[in-house]
């Protein structure tokens, strides 16, 4: 790691080239640039997750830490390559006026012609696609479950501002559930009459799962509350009986379906690097997520209407 104090984009870019030549491997086979916007406190964990995800997706990872926006503009950076990274990394700390112009720092550091993804590990902007940094990226990853302010509304806000390329880790988290539910209907093509999702009271993932089931199956999907962790049960009711996946410990689920013996199935809550790696696998629009967010907005609309 090279420390650059009071620096600028071109010095950081020059340091990337220097470091690569020094490592003796000028071609790194990097496939994308990943921007991470994070507070000082979350920076370490976020960079660590990106490091692990970069095994699958070699990337130039630019960690941007915006600090106090008052005062004179200063940019400090730590630049490094290799050492268990399969890409390059720069952790850039912004202070003063430049905080409001972070995109001017990042833009010259994007890899030529390769896709750009951005990830807000904690609090995303209200409208990620309209954010100056967010607009540089074609994939904007948020995490409604990790938001520290206004948790219960976070997902709703993100869905309301859905734009092509937006996606949320709460959605990524339910891929194994969705895979298992889809496989259940592959095995027994039964017509689902109604369904229910049981989870912790605040669970963006459960909300998305509910919306997805509602959108795909066109049936009522109840949302019930349990003590968690995360999602604890999904039931799809058919005329032959319920298809039920229940997971009480966050690890091992029981899969039951009509006329078949109950079977255990591993359904572990996945760690951040796994989620991020899945998210970076495809950088085009996630059409199913788009439909699900639209459905979620509709469901929320009717729920609000009923209350009023």
């Amino acid at each position: 790691m090279i420390e650059l104090t009071n620096t600028n984009s071109s010095e950081i870019a020059a340091e990337f080239v220097r470091a690569r030549i020094k490592a003796g491997s000028p071609a790194m086979g990097m496939v994308m640039t990943l921007i991470i916007v994070v507070d000082e406190g979350g920076a370490h964990d976020a960079m660590e997750a990106a490091r692990k995800a970069s095994r699958e997706h070699p990337a130039r990872v630019l960690g941007v830490i915006p600090r106090d926006a008052r005062g004179e503009a200063t940019i400090n950076a730590q630049v490094g390559i290799g050492e268990s990274w399969s890409g390059e990394t720069a952790l850039i700390r912004l202070k003063g006026e430049v905080v409001k112009h972070a995109e001017s720092v990042v833009l010259p550091l994007l890899l030529p012609d390769s896709p750009v993804a951005i990830w807000w590990p904690e609090n995303p902007p209200l409208d990620p696609a309209a954010d100056p940094l967010g607009s540089l990226a074609q994939r904007r990853i948020t995490d409604a479950a990790a938001v520290t302010r206004g948790k219960s509304k976070a997902l709703h806000t993100l869905c309301a501002h859905y734009a092509k390329g937006n996606t949320d880790l709460a959605w990524t988290r339910i891929t194994p559930w969705r895979a298992l539910l889809a496989a259940a209907l592959d095995q027994q093509p039964l017509k689902v009459r109604r369904a229910s999702v049981t989870a912790e009271r605040i669970s963006p993932s459960a909300d998305l799962l509910q919306a997805w089931l509602n959108d795909r199956l066109h049936v009522d999907v109840d949302r019930q509350t349990s003590r968690g962790p995360g999602i604890t049960e999904v039931v799809m009711d058919t005329k032959d009986g319920p298809i039920r996946i229940s997971r009480l410990d966050g690890k091992l689920a029981t899969f039951s379906s009509p006329g078949r013996p109950d079977r255990p199935v591993a359904l572990k809550r996945r760690e951040l690097p796994d989620l991020l790696a899945e998210e970076l696998r495809r950088l085009d629009e996630d059409d199913i997520y788009r439909d699900t967010t639209a459905r979620l907005m509709k469901l929320n609309g009717t729920a609000a209407g009923k209350k009023a």
């Binding site: 889809a182 209907l185 095995q187 091992l252 059409d287």
Partner: protein, 508 residues
Amino acid sequence: MTGPVNPLRDPEDRRLPRIAGPCGMVLFGVTGDLSRKKIMPAIYDLANRGLLPPGFSLVGFARRDWADQDFAQIVHDSVRDHSRTEFREEVWRQLAEGFRFVPGDFNDDHAFDQLRRTIEELDEVRGTSGNHAFYLAIPPSFFGAVAGQLKEHGLAEPRPGHWRRVVVEKPFGHDLASARALNDILGEVFESGSIFRIDHYLGKETVQNILAMRFANNLFEPIWNGNYVDHVQITMAEDVGIGGRAGYYDGVGAARDVIQNHLMQLLALVAMEEPVSFDAESLRTEKLKVLSSVVLPGSLDQTTARGQYTAGWAGGEKVVGFCEEEGISKTSKTETYAAVTLNVETRRWAGVPFYLRTGKRLGRRVTEVAVVFKRAPHLPFNATATEELTANTLVIRVQPDEGMTIRFGAKVPGTAMEIRDVNMDFAYGGSFTESSPEAYERLILDVLLGDPPLFPRHEEVELSWKILDPVLARWAASGAPEPYGPGTWGPKSANEMLARDGRAWRRP
């Protein structure tokens, strides 16, 4: 495929993995290296990635006095030692409930009766629904006995709407006649769509990438023909000797062990025309077309080479020669190095020789395909400027260090015009491979899904033998293989073989 549409599936939903339907696997040859080092860890890794169905069951069959728990212990140890992904208790619990063991001999009717009952019991308590794959990780000489027993005890016949599949590993015979005989044995019991032949090379990401590279890009295909390509070298080298495989290797040799299957498949993928689509049928059509257009050159003595490693030093270690290996006859004529020249008689490849070589105890472990291009027809430089420029080459590195290299000339910095070869490299990521699944994971999953594109069909196997048989016959009739020192790149005759055509082997 037609049938009821699953509302939860959408072709646009590319996050959802394909999970195999309810099924189980019966493993013959539980104690072998293949089972312990490859198959069992792959099954665990698949479960860990959430790709096995709930209720997946694994039945071991062997001549051991074991209970289910003993078998589970063997699997546990092999998973601990060899699996690619981390060990997780809940995944293990999902799997372990489905372990069964049936002790018995291959000609023991009682044991196969018990196997049938075990499978029926699993259908009952684990919901495997009558879908079972029989993995024959045993020497081919036992295929007949096992297949016969499976048929006799009604194990090979699926109920309507369910499946029974059989999985076999190479060698698929030792010549055309024996390959046909073997196929007849299996074909009598299983229909051809239910026989899965594993060539683990085809499960490798880099091998599948050959198709992606050729047919997803516009850059390579225009020059992928005899107008621009001078020749192609396909190499699979190992730095080790035969190790513990003496019993199998003696009398078989390098050509049968490697060229007939792996290298012929690589050749087919490199040389074939563009398939209409990527389904199994279209791929097979193209592979069959190109394999049936392969011919051997006229004089086999001039265009093939074989060798046998001697004692000496390799990689800083003192090693014994092939004939001194344990279990090998002192007078063995089995080749440990084989090289052949093949011509592909199509418009695309007319006049472009394909050189295939493989060997044990060579310089290092490497598998690669090198497409060597013709030199530029005119070089507007003086002779000294291009002295160090050789032919442009595109190398597909299959293993280790997966990736691609392009070699071309560039100007050496300085006042004089001097041109030298440089490499441009695409590595499959610094550690891309860490997350990329083992070949066996992919292949076993494909067996359970019933997805055949990556498995060679018997027609391909037979065509490969048809190509190789005359070479083997010629070698059998002409004395012993030429000795070569360990840790070198093979016998002199192999170099002479290329020198006759005015070419040389790459040092891979």
